[in-house]
C-alpha cells in the first residue's frame, strides 16, 4: 500500500519533471531556431546562448514569486524527511 504522502510527492514530482523536460525541449528548439537565423547576421553563438540562459533564469529563479513557489514545492516534497 502506497503511503498518501509518498503518492502526493511522486505525483507532483512526476508532473514537475514532465513540465520541466517539456520546457527545456521547447527552450532548446527556440535556441536552435534563432541560432539559424542570427548566425547569418554575425551574432556569436556564445552571446545567443547567454541570452537564452538569462531569459530562462529571469523566467524561473530570478522571479521572486516563482522562486518562492519552487522553494515551497521542495519543502512539501521533503516535509517528512525534515520531521
Amino acid at each position: 500500500m502506497l503511503d498518501p504522502y509518498d503518492f502526493v510527492r511522486y505525483t507532483t514530482f512526476l508532473i514537475a519533471t514532465v513540465w520541466t523536460v517539456r520546457g527545456a525541449a521547447r527552450t532548446w528548439s527556440f535556441y536552435k531556431r534563432w541560432e539559424e537565423r542570427l548566425l547569418q547576421w554575425g551574432v556569436s553563438p556564445l552571446f545567443l546562448r547567454r541570452a537564452v540562459l538569462a531569459m530562462v533564469a529571469r523566467i524561473t529563479v530570478l522571479d521572486p514569486i516563482n522562486l518562492a513557489l519552487m522553494l515551497t514545492l521542495v519543502g512539501v516534497w521533503t516535509f517528512r524527511a525534515r520531521m
Partner: protein, 149 residues
Amino acid sequence: MAEPSEALGPDPPKPEPGPKRVEEPVPDLEAVPDDEPKRRRRGRLARWVEGRAERVLKSAVSSGADKIEERAAEVVGSLYDQKADDLEDRAVRAMRRAIHEESERIRSVIEHSVEVKRREVRLSLLVLVGAAIVYLILFWITREPPAAA
C-alpha cells in the same frame, strides 16, 4: 611676301541656292578713274583686317566656349558629388533609424514572451503546490492518531 589677299584665308562658303532675290547692280570698279588704285589697296587692306578680326574673334569664342564647357563640367561634377554625399548620408541615417526601430520591436517582443512564459511557469508551480498542499491536508485529516504508549 604674300599679298594681303592671300592672307585672308579661304573663301567664305557659298550661299545656298534659295529664292531668287533682286540683286543690286555691282558698281564697276574698273570704270573708276585713275585715282582709284589707292582706294583699291585700301579695300584690300580693309578686307584683310576684317577677315583677320573675324578669325581672331572665332578663335576667342571657341577657346572661351571650351573653358565654359570645362567649367560647367566641373560645376556639374561637384554638384553631383555633393548630391551623392547627401543621398548617402540620408540613406545611412534612414538605415540606422530602421535598425534601431527593428531592434526595439524585437526587444519588446522578447520582453512580452518572457512575461508570458513567467506567468505559465507561475501557474504550473501554483498547480503543483496547491495539489501537494491539498493532498497533505487530506493525509493529516485521515491519518490515524498515533497509538498511546
